[in-house]
Structures are given as structure tokens and as C-alpha cells.
Symmetry: C2
Subunit: 106 residues, 2 copies
């Protein structure tokens, strides 16, 4: 694999890596419905606010979300809605896996 091809796949992996965490996945899912500030997300998630903030930083660096201040609060919004396409396919993988499991039992 030449350097350029490698760089391409590394760039892609960066984006996907940013999604590869349950909390960040939840955040993306939630933001796909409405923008939210850190405190709001922290509440829903039930982790330390600093933890949530760092997850948001990861998503932001990847370019998946964007933030804007509104008073003392920082609101985050989904920047690339097509990310939601991931879920459909992921769900189908999970379903396929489950079916395979079932077949083994039956």
C-alpha cells in the first residue's frame, strides 16, 4: 500500500474512530434530533461533565459536530447529517449477527 493510499485510509479511519464509542454515538444520535449544550448531554449520559466535554472535543476535531456559544453555554450541533446513515447499516449488522446466533441454537 503506497503512502498516499495509506494516508487516505488513515483520514477515513480518523472520522470513524471518532464515532467508535458508545457515548459519542449517543451524542451524535441525540444531536441528529436537536442541538444541545454540554450540561444537557451530561445529564442524559450520566458521566462527569469533563468526560462529556472531551467526547465532544473528539467529535468536533473530526468535523462531525460544531459548536457555538450562547451565553455561558456551548451548544453542539451535528455538522454532517449523513452520519446518521451509519445507524441503519450498523443495526442490520447487529440483526444479521443475531440471526446467525439463532440459527446456531435452533
Amino acid at each position: 500500500m503506497d503512502a498516499q493510499t495509506k494516508a487516505l485510509y488513515e483520514a477515513r479511519a480518523e472520522i470513524i474512530k471518532a464515532m467508535a464509542h458508545p457515548t459519542r454515538l449517543f451524542i451524535v444520535d441525540h444531536l441528529s434530533r436537536r442541538k444541545a449544550c454540554v450540561a444537557e448531554l451530561t445529564n442524559l449520559i450520566g458521566a462527569d461533565m469533563s468526560t462529556v466535554s472531551k467526547h465532544l472535543t473528539v467529535l468536533k476535531s473530526a468535523g462531525i459536530v460544531e459548536d457555538h456559544k450562547q451565553g455561558a453555554q456551548v451548544y453542539y450541533a451535528l455538522r454532517v447529517p449523513c452520519i446518521m446513515n451509519f445507524f441503519g447499516c450498523v443495526e442490520s449488522v447487529i440483526k444479521t449477527n443475531a440471526n446467525r446466533q439463532l440459527r446456531l441454537v435452533k
Copy 2:
């Protein structure tokens, strides 16, 4: 976030985590065109065969690829073609990011 919701996002993250590596992304991309055996992929990737084999194990455990023996060789194939939808969106994230960069410079 209640335990069930958490479990759901964890399951989803498992799948995405399996994709979150340049080499594995390359493998998935390649397998979307044709099935291939380990030696073949190893050649294209240029890493130790044991490394490639382990990447394939990760993809297989996630249910993204499946394998079948053909003589002494093990062929891998994409099990869930919709995974390829990821690329389109990832590409658009990369493009959006690049445009943002440009705007900063201009």
C-alpha cells in the same frame, strides 16, 4: 442513560470500532470488490501476515466479514455490503473539513 439504552449503544459501537482502523477499512473496501485470501490481503497491505490475520479476526467477530476455507487458504468476504455506505459519508466529512480549512486561509 438506562442500562438497556447503554447496551444498545455499546453494541453499535462494537461494530463501528471494528471499522475504525485504516488497515481494516482498506480490507473492507477491497472485499467489497472481491473476496480475497489472507496472503493476498497481506501482500496489498504490506504488514506481517499475523497482523492482517488479527485484523480479519476483528472484522469477523463484529460480523462484518465471513470466511470459508478453500484448500489451505482462507477466503474472506464482505457479509454486509451496506457497510460501504460509510465511505460516502466519511468522504463528505473529509471534504467539508477541507473546505472549512480553505475558508480559514482565504
